[in-house]
Symmetry: C2
DNA sequence: CAGTGGTCTAGACCACTAA
DNA sequence: TAGTGGTCTAGACCACTGG
């Protein structure tokens, strides 16, 4: 946040709290405030922009609703670090015998550099002939396969990822992207479909070919919304569940 | 809302706005304020309960977030009337050639009074041998079947529904429940699954047996949360889609 | 202890709606 | 014009955290 411009940008006809919220969103999207870091207090914002504390509070509340910030009494306001493992359990029942949710282990079956298929290159915002890192990854619980994943990464920014032996990669990829390649995943779009299992999926998941499977396509994004990873996960339909309430 | 008790109920250690929100929620759930009706203004609430307008505002904002109320500047605060047709389009692509969403027509294939299966009686909170109205209903777009539905209603409260010829029931059932039986649906729980089409579903949806289908189980609730209708809808998996954003 | 966010007050002015 | 919600101000006191 600029130290020399205590003037809120944006259309002056917009409410102050809107313009402040936009300003805060810009700071986060630009990566000037990183996930886990502390954001300015409402008192500081109020003084800096010469607005009432209640107005600053309203802007912060917006970003808390959006999931960009979280607040802790006595500690401060922080940029939220997303938890992607939650999304798995929103769609699948991965329970052990005791009924507890279990994080599946990840086993990379194959990794190579190859030209991306057109639909992947397009999703990642790259040219039709871009090179990518392709992975086939199996996720298991207690040795049982539960998800089969195809993953594509842009070869350039993720070159260092190739130096890490596949056996040393743990159950989560995003922390490795961050530590090895400096690529921070902060949001993702997911699309759900259902289809009949093809022969390859059936073999990996140890089900009959033609049995229903759930397909989740995910585009993971970094700071500023830049696409970082394309991923297609397939899981057994009989482990899928999703519930909502409608009002 | 009682005219003689300007005292907010609930644990006095709870914030005022929480206790007021609970009070408002009670009025709505008890059906004393019906969907579409006007709720008291924040000024009235502030004076009646002897709190600051801002505090009343905060309570109202909670219920707006929950989808129970909606506010219109200059007009007032109203109890929200839910739109269930919207939920269909959240899960399925029902587009005509021009790409517009189309509300499917509903055709009741069969209607009878019969003892409920145990799982339906349990969901509706009735005894194991309760009588119900069973319906088989097909939903079509441009003559093409898109959803096959099994529906169960408790026989008692919905007795008058049997007097209406099935041919006179339009594309939406809930308005008929309201006008003919005085049963108002205000919320619902939905659970999504995927399975392989059985022979009956395959016939109704004109797909191959074994092809993947999406199953939506819905329990519709009336005022106060009382279960009113159990419904199981099956649709072709290739018309299913669902997207989310994760942060 | 100082600093933070959580709750609450008591007003102000505005834009919009309906009578 | 009176009543509504939308925005904004300028404080208060509290509970909690950290040094």
């Amino acid at each position: 946040m600029s130290r020399h411009d205590p003037e809120l940008a944006g259309d002056r006809r917009l409410p102050l709290y809107q313009r402040l919220a936009d300003e805060l969103r810009r700071e986060i999207n630009a990566g000037r405030w990183k996930p886990g870091e502390r954001a300015p207090s409402e008192t500081w914002l109020a003084e800096h922009f010469e607005i009432a504390p209640g107005t600053a509070r309203q802007a912060i509340a917006m970003l808390v609703d959006e999931g960009l910030l979280e607040r802790f009494r006595g500690k401060g306001t922080f940029v939220r670090r997303p938890r992607f493992d939650h999304s798995l359990f929103r769609f699948f029942r991965f329970r052990d015998r005791s009924g507890e949710n279990r994080m599946p282990e990840g086993r990379i079956l194959h990794r190579e550099v190859a030209p991306m298929p057109d639909h992947v290159a397009e999703a990642l915002g790259l040219g039709a002939d871009a090179l990518g890192i392709a992975m086939s990854r199996l996720r298991l619980i207690g040795g049982e396969p539960v998800l089969a994943e195809e993953i594509w990464l842009p070869a350039g920014p993720f070159a260092d990822f190739l130096e890490i032996p596949v056996g040393e990669v743990g159950p989560l990829l995003y922390p490795v992207y961050e530590s090895a390649c400096g690529q921070l995943v902060v949001s993702a779009d997911e699309a759900l479909r259902a289809e009949a299992a093809g022969p390859e999926t059936a073999r990996l998941l140890q089900i009959d070919a033609g049995a229903p499977v759930i397909v989740i396509d995910r585009l993971a994004r970094g700071i500023g919304g830049a696409p970082l990873e394309w991923r297609r996960s397939r899981g057994r339909a009989d482990q899928f569940h999703y519930t909502t309430e409608i009002r």
